[in-house]
């Protein structure tokens, strides 16, 4: 039951407070970016859950595919030397 007057979908990101990044909270429909911001304010921050909002047209997001998850993320799996715990140091060495 779609007609051409359906409003596009926007993804909403909220910064909970200064010092934190914006996190995805959900989506909404709005005719344009200005209305998307206002609707996001009413929908996702009725109790001061944020100090800043981003809205992004849902179609503008490029996402990694869950089907290629293994091939995409596995190359990082065998590089344990990227973690500090990989290295054994004598106990008398401090601040390292």
């Amino acid at each position: 039951m779609n007609d051409r007057n359906d409003w596009p979908l926007w993804e909403v990101f909220v910064r909970p407070r200064r010092g934190l990044g914006h996190a995805h909270v959900g989506s909404l429909h709005a005719p344009d970016a200005t209305m998307a911001l206002r609707n996001a304010r009413d929908l996702y921050t009725r109790r001061q859950e944020g100090v800043s909002i981003w809205v992004v047209p849902a179609g503008a997001i490029t996402a990694s595919s869950p089907d290629e998850k293994d091939a995409f993320f596995d190359p990082a799996g065998d590089k344990v030397y990227r973690h500090p715990t990989f290295y054994t140091l004598p106990p008398e060495v401090d601040h390292l």
């Binding site: 039951m1 779609n2 007609d3 051409r4 007057n5 359906d6 409003w7 979908l9 959900g26 989506s27 909404l28 429909h29 005719p31 344009d32 209305m35 009413d42 929908l43 009725r46 109790r47 996402a63 595919s65 869950p66 089907d67």
Partner: protein
Amino acid sequence: MDQQAHFDAVIAADERIEPRDWMPEKYRATLIRQIAQHAHSEIIGMQPEGAWLTRAPSLRRKAILLAKVQDEAGHGLYLYSAAETLGVERSDLLHRLHTGAQKYSTIFNYPTPEWADVGVIGWLVDGAAIVNQVPLCRCSYGPYARAMIRICKEESFHQRQGFEMLLALRDGTDDQRAMLQNAVNRWWWPSLMMFGPPDAASTNSAQSMAWRIKRHSNDELRQRFVDMTAPQADVLGVKLPDDKLRWNPERGSYDFGEIDWDEFARVVKGEGPCNAERIERRTAAHAEGAWVREAAVAYAAKQHAQADAA
């Protein structure tokens, strides 16, 4: 690992399925049905209480009720947003609500003739909703679980404001206490029906439990609600309208009477006191808002064209 095995492993590990993961078609269909029905319930649920917005007895009560009804709109929108991640269009879901192809909770087909009904809805209906919804915060589908976490945080205010309003009636005149008791008499049994048919007759339950969409059976949640609510009725000085309701020390729970499942079936079928009125109001609001949606689209298109030309 094949797709089904991967899905089963995620469920078995009690992790979450996310929108772009492969999932069995029946899992997807079950979630769409359940989340949409839940969203519709929030949207239709604005009506019984919204009817009292202009007649709230004080500015304080009016401000609280406005905030609560606005929350219900918000809950509906969180849930439609979650449903859309499963590949359905919001306009399609609304169409299915308007044509009766998808249901909403039977509880909203009962009328609110008196002010006390608003408080009793907060206490019993939102109380039952919370018992139903808290386990859904751990539902296996990520977007639904996340929406439920937000909703449950907000529902707590709904229930407490209702109970506080009822305390005011308890401490009021004899007429106010009678109004409170009458509202409890109207809402007690329909509230128990909110947990759905008894386990033996609940067709979808076993599969939903296996998929960890549901965590507890209908009867289990219903019992939990009765056990929580019966002592609260004593605080309010009201009698729950069930002669069989009594504490059973052996079970460590309250026994209660038989629910009228024929009435439940009639309300599901559309023969409740307010079914027609609720859908009529909803479709009228949708139709009356059409020009606003069209105007907003036209304005956005015009702004877009001007920006392109500049």
